[in-house]
């Protein structure tokens, strides 16, 4: 799905979280929102997912105005920073949650739900863990379960908030490939937030460098390295 962000602005109290920003994300791209904390990258992601609403500006999904769509109507697969798995549910129930939450007419049969959950568990290469609780999983496993749960709703796009932030360096590397694979298999427009320039440059097709609520530069990793648009970008990328 092609996403168009048109002059979006957001303030929290008196601080501007986002100056008016515009951005066009081509369908099927894997995009990194890169910036230090407080740069507005998470706010932008949450606006796309319908968890925050902008003061002004529009969001267009495939050319249609989606600014007023509720979080449920957006159908964005959202992976939260600490994964926000439902701690009182098993992995199976976590992944099945979105399907069970559908209105009756659109809800798959019980067997169909089970089939889809099994398939998703295979996709994240953890076929055996359906019966476990989130507390019994490692950080890396949790991240993959959160990804499967987000994919279960057949989302129109995938939004990930610091998906590797809570992991140690080794697992981080592995899961980067995992995310790339899942993106390539599903073909979903995928946007992830990170403060780690190495991660953004290695994984993303398109990197959006943000600072102080502004977009500093948008480009392919190689282009950003070759032609940083500002001193901030140059410094942030070499840090």
């Amino acid at each position: 799905m092609h996403i168009e962000i048109d002059e979006i602005a957001k303030t929290f109290g008196r601080t501007a979280a986002l100056q008016p920003v515009s951005l066009s994300i081509p369908s099927g791209a894997l995009v990194a929102l890169l910036g230090p904390s407080g740069s507005g990258k998470t706010t932008l992601l949450r606006i796309l997912g319908g968890l925050e609403f902008p003061e002004s500006g529009r969001v267009l999904f495939d050319g249609h105005d989606a600014t007023g769509l509720t979080v449920q109507e957006r159908r964005a697969g959202f992976v939260f920073q600490n994964y926000a798995l439902f701690r009182h549910m098993t992995v199976f129930e976590n992944i099945a949650y979105g399907l069970k939450a559908r209105p009756r007419a659109l809800r798959p049969e019980k067997e169909e739900i089970a089939r889809r959950v099994t398939k998703l568990l295979e996709l994240i290469r953890l076929p055996e863990i359906g019966g476990r609780y989130p507390a019994q999983l490692s950080g890396g496993q949790r991240q993959r379960v959160a990804l499967a749960r987000a994919l279960a709703i057949e989302p129109r796009m995938l939004l990930l908030d610091e998906p590797f932030g809570a992991l140690d360096a080794k697992v981080r590397k592995e899961l980067r490939h995992g995310l790339r694979e899942i993106h390539d298999t599903t073909g979903l427009t995928t946007i992830f937030v990170t403060h780690d320039q190495e991660e953004a440059m290695e994984l993303a097709d398109l990197v959006v460098v943000m600072s102080m609520g502004r977009i500093e530069q948008v480009g392919r990793p190689a282009d950003l390295r070759a032609r940083p648009a500002s001193a901030f970008v140059r410094e942030f990328l070499t840090a």
Binding site: G50, V71, Q72, R74, R75, R87, Y97, R102, R149
Partner: protein
């Protein structure tokens, strides 16, 4: 130079004491003191209550409990508890939710107000209700005209009980909700759940033990409340006298066995609540631990 330590004669081993460890005598003394206080303040009265109730045999105690007035008091107390605890739970949930999830002007004031029933004397609370709904006020007159008297009637007793028990549920669930944050709830919404579905499948299961714990505490308090209820109920024998008030009236009339039988019943209910609470703490320690940190 560096050999100095080697050349020095070995020192005799010294016993080290951790910085937070007190001398054994002091420890035993403090623990002993606590037990003595517990025995004098808690255990002895409980034994006395049951002793007095059974002083003329279990038969006499049971007969006293079977008296119509005692019956009426027990029924009223159970009814008031059954009405006020759900109200307290709903108000507590609403307050806990509002404070934990939203930022709004006056939030700090609301948090303070939740604790008000803890600090205000129940008698004052009862008096306020009488002043608000009493017969010589416009509101009270109108309510009596509608056949819905509040003071000296069931609604007043329920209101007083809700006031007194209000903080229990809100105080228990608030820290749990704050600690858990809203990520799981937001996750449910992004997965397509409606607000109600999110509440029943994510929010409520996450706070269920804290909620149950608060409800148990509120129940114990609702059954035992005296001060506020004494003022608003008017202590009409057999009509608005709850168990604690019936106990006081019987005791003032030197009906010792009857008074202590009811008191023993009330104490038993409190003990059951306490046992349930302990069982809950024991089984769900981690879910409740958020309370202790706050």
């Amino acid at each position: 130079m560096f050999d100095a330590a080697h050349l020095a004669p070995p020192r005799p081993a010294r016993r080290f004491r951790a910085a937070t460890e007190e001398p054994a005598a002091l420890r035993r003394g403090l623990i002993g003191l606590v037990f003595v206080l517990l025995a004098v303040l808690l255990f002895a009265p409980l034994v006395t209550v049951f002793g007095e109730a059974l002083s003329q045999g279990a038969g006499a105690a049971l007969t006293a409990l079977a008296e119509p007035e005692a019956h009426a008091a027990i029924r009223l107390t159970l009814l008031v508890t059954a009405l006020s605890v759900p109200l307290t739970a709903v108000f507590g949930l609403a307050a806990g939710w509002a404070i934990a999830r939203f930022d709004f002007p006056g939030k700090a004031v609301l948090i303070t107000l939740i604790d008000l029933p803890f600090s205000v004397s129940p008698v004052v609370a009862g008096l306020c209700l009488v002043l608000l709904f009493g017969a010589n006020t416009t509101l009270g007159d109108w309510l009596v005209g509608q056949g819905m008297p509040v003071v000296f009637a069931l609604p007043g007793i329920v209101l007083a009980t809700v006031f007194v028990t209000f903080p229990f549920v809100a105080r228990e669930i608030l820290p749990v909700m704050v600690e858990q944050g809203r990520a799981e709830e937001e996750a449910a919404l992004t997965l397509g759940a409606s607000g109600w579905r999110m509440f029943f499948t994510v929010t409520l299961p996450n706070i269920r033990w804290a909620l149950l714990y608060g409800v148990l505490l509120a129940t114990a308090r609702a059954m035992g409340e005296f001060g506020a209820v004494a003022v608003v109920s008017g202590k009409i024998r057999g009509v608005t006298a709850t168990v604690p008030i019936a106990i006081e009236m019987l005791y003032n009339e030197y009906l010792t066995v009857a008074a202590f039988s009811l008191a023993a019943l009330l104490a038993s209910l409190a003990l059951v609540t306490l046992a349930l609470k302990t069982a809950l703490e024991w089984r769900h320690a981690d879910a409740l631990s958020a309370n202790r940190r706050a």
